[in-house]
């Protein structure tokens, strides 16, 4: 047991100087630069609504583009403004008659994020607003053809970039959304969590 602990400490001591050395040497991004990124993201959405999960499953793939402006404040701190879109489509079955249903959810998001940019990677965290448009289409035997509507919501998002080159980064993110609608006559929770990755291309301004 002592031998294992000693081995772990030795490894840790080796990595600390190595990391600080890397930070200095492999810094891709210039300091205090404004930049604009475009990204294409993909991930999985985990709904908070029980009926949603019953009909469409526990997780659904989502994808969409992002546009982000970064304004450095004081290196390495900055502020990001993100405008994004998200698209979700799924097929399911009604709970009792097992008739086919189709769901399509499109949302527009705007986030303001604090970002910590190291040059090699960056971390971000911030709140945002969503505008969610939904449409559910039913089988011919169902009493109605479709239901559609829209609702506003909020979210908080967090994640990080790993810079592959001065122009290209890999992004990982987490988003927790809050959106509820009473429009059908009962409450549907459109919120949930979303985990995903994105490929990001950067333009310096």
């Amino acid at each position: 047991m002592r031998r294992i602990a000693a081995w772990l400490v030795s490894v840790a001591l080796l990595f600390v100087p190595s990391w600080s050395q890397t930070r200095e040497k492999i810094k891709f991004l210039p300091d205090e630069e404004k930049y604009l990124t475009i990204a294409l993201s993909g991930g999985f959405f985990f709904s908070k609504d029980e009926v949603f999960r019953q009909i469409y499953g526990d997780s659904l793939p989502v994808f969409g583009p992002h546009l982000t402006f970064r304004f450095p404040i004081l290196d390495p701190h900055g502020l990001d403004f993100l405008l994004g879109g998200r698209f979700l489509q799924a097929k399911g079955k009604t709970s009792y008659t097992r008739e086919e249903t189709k769901l399509r959810i499109e949302s527009l998001s705007f986030s303001v994020r604090y970002s910590f940019e190291t040059g090699k990677f960056a971390l971000f965290l911030g709140p945002g607003m969503d505008y969610v448009m939904y449409k559910e289409t039913y089988a011919e035997t169902f009493p109605v053809d479709s239901v559609e509507g829209s609702e506003a919501g909020f979210h908080i998002t967090s994640g990080g970039y790993y810079h592959l080159s001065p122009s290209l980064s890999l992004k990982g993110y987490f988003k927790y959304g809050l959106a509820k609608t009473d429009a059908p006559g009962f409450q549907v929770n459109l919120g949930g969590t979303e985990w995903g990755v994105a490929l990001v291309y950067r333009f310096y301004l």
Binding site: F52, T94, Y96, E136, Y138, P143, V144, V188
Partner: protein
């Protein structure tokens, strides 16, 4: 020696035999006892009189027989309304005007027959309008719209019915065997003079209303010529060949029978089957019943001062007995029924006595002092009568109309459980009442064996002279020794239903087809993400009594009955989509056979407080089955 001493002398022996005979007779007669109760039940008719015909029918389907009284005008009172006495249990109220069947035209109504012509399980009415002097009158059809309210349906007759006819007797039945009720009316011409009843040649006039099955009737001639003034009309299958024949009692020409060829075309066969060819007689009624209990319909012709009895030999009628009337002049009508529940038919002569049958069709008068029918003998100008169990006590009561006096109502005091009644709720056509269905009652275990036949009936509409008995068959069925009975119902199309080992004291409700079993429903929620649908799943089980269910009919019941769906006969569930989650729904389901006959409904309540058993039936009955 001692024995010899006890043998009575010849005179003593005669006296003893007479005493024994009287004792036996009185013991038999003692079972017949009526009480005149017309004032008690408020059914005396109008103070200006005019009573002519009577019909016992449950027009509002509340389980109690109502009474329709057909009236003609007096010298001072024109346009006499008919009377519809609604039975409220302990009293009757005239609601003819309220319910739309006052039929107050011209000189009043003679013949009128109730029958379910549109298969909605409600008895509709075809009423004649008497013409003497008023112009523009015609016979009327009335449709029962449910719960015993009527709507004039005469416009459904195409071409329009003839005006100013002098119809007396009318008849109802599926004459053309196409599965719905047609009508016949006598004297389809204007102003025939009863005193000169010999037209020459006979007139071939349209005198049938043929039901087209689509809510219209076609006025048609089907071979029954007008040969002279007709009084009563009866429609029975006298030759047991599966179609309905017509009998007309006439003034002048001999009364006769028109045989149906099976397609609703008729031929006068009176002279071929043993009926008298004597002219210049004045008959009022031809009444058919199985007087000798041999399984066919014998005949009583009611006419001038007598009732002449004819035995049905299978191929013809053979005159065998004459009952003389104590009244001078004509006798109008007779009711033949088992009034004392002894299993043998008696005969009540309008305005006279009741006659006891010895079981072979021979009749003996029952003194009014015994029968309680003394008031009957006081009737001023008696006309039609009708028998019906108005109080549901298992014996037949008699209503007698009087043209020149108050009508009389005789309550039967037999009050025992020696009876079986048969109500045909749905016959082979789906109609209520089962007109011309034949019903045999046998000793249990001996179904179909003639030696054990205990009674034979054919359901009739108006018969004889303007009488219509209750639309159930009534059998006296003695219960002594725990006797039980088998019953066979034969519909006009030949199909049968049998009921075995029946205990006396009950009314059997017959449907050509039985409702499905275990009909029930449950409300479910069907969820999509943005739509929540409530639906009702109904399911049922096939009734093993049915062998040929073609489909099931599902009805939604609220203020009326709405047909929801027709489901194939091999399917036993149905889903109703998108219902109100909070609402209570009521449903009825019927089975329909290949012939279109529809069963009584089974019921289900979904949502709300559960109703059970008779309470469910009561609620649904109040909603008027098929009163769409």
């Amino acid at each position: 020696m001692g024995l010899k001493n006890r043998v009575p002398s010849g005179r003593k022996s005669d006296l003893a035999l007479i005493a024994l005979f009287l004792a036996l007779s009185s013991a038999s007669f003692a079972q017949l006892r009526f009480t005149e109760v017309s004032q008690l039940y408020m059914v005396r008719g109008y103070s200006f009189f005019g009573g002519h015909g009577a019909a016992w029918v449950d027009i509002n389907r509340d389980g109690r027989l109502d009474l329709y009284v057909k009236n003609v005008s007096s010298a001072t009172v024109p346009n006499p309304p008919d009377i519809l006495y609604i039975n409220y249990g302990t009293y009757f109220l005239d609601e003819a005007t309220l319910r739309g069947v006052a039929d107050a035209y011209a000189e009043g109504t003679h013949g009128a027959v109730f029958a379910d012509f549109n298969k909605d399980r409600n008895l509709d009415l075809f009423a004649s309008t008497t013409y003497y002097t008023s112009k523009g009158v015609f016979n009327h059809l009335y449709r029962n719209t449910g719960n015993g309210f009527f709507q004039d349906f005469s416009s459904a007759i195409l071409p329009s019915p003839p005006l100013n006819t002098t119809t007396r007797g009318v008849a109802a039945g599926d004459f053309d065997r196409d599965g719905d009720i047609d009508f016949y009316f006598s004297n389809p011409l204007s102003d025939p003079d009863p005193a000169n009843p010999y037209p020459s040649p006979p007139k071939s006039l349209a005198n049938f209303l043929i039901n087209n099955g689509d809510g219209t009737f076609t006025l048609a001639y089907r071979g029954v010529d007008w040969t002279g003034f007709t009084q009563g009309v009866s429609a029975v299958d006298f030759d047991n060949d599966g179609d309905i024949d017509l009998a007309e009692a006439k003034w002048g020409p001999p009364s006769t029978i028109y045989r149906n060829d099976g397609n609703g075309n008729f031929l006068n066969v009176g002279s071929l089957i043993g009926l008298p060819a004597t002219a210049n007689v004045f008959d009022n009624a031809m009444v058919f019943a199985d007087l000798d209990n041999d399984g066919d319909l014998d005949l009583a012709i009611v006419g001038e001062g007598a009732v002449t009895l004819y035995r049905n030999t299978g191929t013809s009628f053979s005159k065998y007995e004459v009952i003389l009337s104590s009244r001078t002049g004509g006798v109008a009508h007779c009711c033949i029924a088992d009034f004392d529940n002894d299993g043998i038919l008696e005969l009540y002569l309008s305005g006279e006595n009741i006659y006891e049958n010895d079981g072979t069709g021979h009749f003996t008068v029952v003194p009014a002092s015994v029968s309680g029918l003394a008031a009957s003998l006081t009737a001023v100008d008696p006309r039609g009568c009708a028998a019906g169990d108005f109080d549901g006590d298992g014996d037949l009561d008699i209503y007698l109309t009087d043209k020149r006096g108050y009508n009389l109502f005789f309550r039967n005091e037999r009050n025992n459980s020696d009876w079986i009644q048969v109500e045909i709720v749905s016959d082979h056509t789906g109609s209520y009442g089962g007109l011309n269905s034949k019903i045999d009652l046998y000793t249990a275990g001996q179904l179909g064996k003639k030696a054990y036949l205990k009674g034979y009936r054919e359901i009739q509409g108006e018969y004889g002279y303007l009488g219509q008995d209750m639309p159930f068959a009534h059998f006296g069925a003695p219960s002594a020794g725990g006797a039980r009975y088998d019953l066979r119902v034969t519909f006009l199309d030949g199909r049968e239903r049998t009921y075995l080992s029946l205990a006396p004291g009950q009314k059997i409700q017959v449907t050509m087809i039985s409702p499905p079993l275990n009909f029930r429903g449950v409300k479910k929620e069907n969820k999509a993400l943005f739509y929540r649908e409530s639906l009702i799943e109904l399911n049922w089980e096939p009734n093993p009594l049915n062998t040929n269910v073609q489909k099931y009919r599902l009805y939604k019941i609220d203020s009326g009955w709405t047909l929801l769906a027709e489901v194939p006969g091999n399917q036993f569930e149905w889903t109703i989509r998108n219902v109100d989650k909070a609402k209570t729904y009521r449903f009825g389901i019927t089975a329909v056979d290949e012939g279109g006959s529809e069963s009584e409904p089974a019921y289900a309540v979904v949502g709300g407080s559960a109703l059970q058993g008779d309470r469910v039936k009561s609620v649904f009955r109040s909603l008027n089955w098929k009163g769409v």
